[in-house]
Amino acid sequence: MLVPLCMTLWFSFQRYNLLNPFISGFAGVDNYTYLLTDPALWTAMGNTLLLVGWVLAITVVGGTLLAVLFQQEFFGRGIARLLVIAPFFVMPTVSALIWKNMMMHPVNGVLAWLFNLFGFQAVDWFSSLPLTSIILIVSWEWLPFALLILLTAIQSLDDDQVEAARMDGAGPIAIFWFITLPHLKRAISVVIMIEMIFLLTIFAEIFVTTSGGPGLASTNLAYLIYIRALLDFDVGGASAGGVIAIVLANIVAIFLIRTVARHLET
């Protein structure tokens, strides 16, 4: 991966537009100043953080609660578990298409039909709530992953410990808070770390559903770079965006992985 990285670094200092071969030469930091003063970059960065933050919150909280539920004994547990983890195996392109066409479509979608059934106005998800829609779809894809990991972790919980706590008069909520949750700390760290790696570069879901719009409402950093590179044919600008993304990713990575990695060590 190092060679392309260096080339990206090199291109980012060049004037390089695929549409006009006569514009060339060394641009210095022009591409960077242009990007950093472009309000689109900050919007995209904000969207990226919102997307990652919300999806992490939904999947970790939801995954933990579901793990507790699906760990209980009940009828048909094996099959119910298989159904719940299925979305993780579906390719992002396909899940985005399903949600776009069959679930969230304002006229023919299942959600629109449900809303009408209960007397609400059908929501045009992708034009009025673009980022929320993306967050919903991505959470749907990653919730099973969190559940899968946390469910395994929860199964190694010591039954005697729970029993002892119950003897001492702890209610289910106290048991969850003081015994189950601390036990899951490492598993939750793993989930956060792996999910973050993939969530920072979410692309297919946005590409298929909203194309980053309306305006820039659902454009994240990955999609902004895509627009610059492939739609504006501005290789220099896109490369500069790529470099900014690497720097950003590394800052987030160092900051978050350090905190998470501490849990992993012990």
Partner: protein, 273 residues
């Protein structure tokens, strides 16, 4: 006794309700694949209808599903094997011959995964064009291998780290070289971990869309490209689209279902206890 039965029933209801809601979009897609185009867009949605295979027939007539599927299989298996081949020695040296910088190197490798692939698309595209790798299976295998390598190395590292050094020491006493040590001691000991790493890598490669769409046109195109070819020009033919989607996810979904226990055991083997 009575109350525990009631409780079990309540949990059953709740868990199944959630499971069905989560699975519903996939179920609906499979169902839509068996409808006619008219029924597919009907409001209110029709639950009871005469199943038809016409969607599947039309998809099969228009595109060579088997070819796309074979490409997907070759590329995901090939890239996974290649990644494991490179990652095993790398993780070995990191786990057993650590330097003060090992941790940093690992974190840095992982952080490259956070870079949007589009950031290196231009250089990779130009490199591939000059090397004649565009639209070739080997090119796609290489790029997927690079894409998954950081995760594969990291996972193998966590598994290897848990192997007691004494065992390898004993092997060395008995005259095993490094290669034998890895092949006959380390690999068999961590096989569950290696298997689950491989499975995850296969799934990720199978579902990858960005590189396959940008680096292939026809002869090496995997199933993600197959879906894309149905989604853009005729995104409104839902029955056909659903049939194609079902065919594209079925193999990996079944593989995932069959191996989920194995996969999770490996995923959480090193990190979660």
């Amino acid at each position: 006794m009575h109350s525990s039965i009631t409780k079990k029933l309540a949990i059953t209801l709740l868990a199944w309700a959630i499971a069905l809601v989560v699975f519903f979009p996939i179920f609906w897609m499979i169902l839509t694949g068996f409808k006619t185009e008219g029924e597919a867009v009907a409001t209110p949605p029709s639950l009871f209808f005469e199943p038809t295979l016409s969607g599947y027939h039309e998809v099969m007539a228009r595109a060579d599903y088997v070819k796309f599927a074979i490409n997907s299989v070759v590329v995901s298996l090939g890239s996974t094997l290649l990644a494991l081949l490179i990652a095993v020695p790398a993780a070995y040296s990191m786990a057993f011959l650590p330097t003060p910088r090992t941790r940093g190197t690992l974190l840095w490798m992982l952080s490259t995964k956070m870079l949007p692939p589009v950031g290196v698309l231009m250089p990779v595209y130009l490199l591939f064009r000059d090397l004649g790798l565009l639209d070739s299976l080997s090119g796609l295998i290489v790029i997927y291998m690079l894409m998954n390598l950081p995760i594969v190395v990291w996972m193998l590292y966590t598994f290897f780290k848990d192997v007691p050094k004494d065992i390898l020491e004993a092997g060395r006493m008995d005259g095993a070289g490094t290669l034998q040590e890895v092949l006959y001691l380390l690999v068999p000991l961590t096989l569950p971990g290696i298997a689950s790493t491989g499975l995850l890598s296969v799934i990720l490669s199978w579902n990858e869309a960005f590189w396959s769409l940008n680096l292939t046109t026809s002869s090496a195109a995997p199933l993600t490209a197959f879906i894309a070819s149905f989604s853009s020009p005729e995104g409104l033919f839902w029955a056909k689209l659903s049939a194609a989607s079902t065919m594209a996810i079925a193999p990996i979904l079944i593989l995932g279902w069959m191996t989920q226990k194995q996969m999770v055991r490996g995923l959480t083997f090193g990190a979660v206890k």
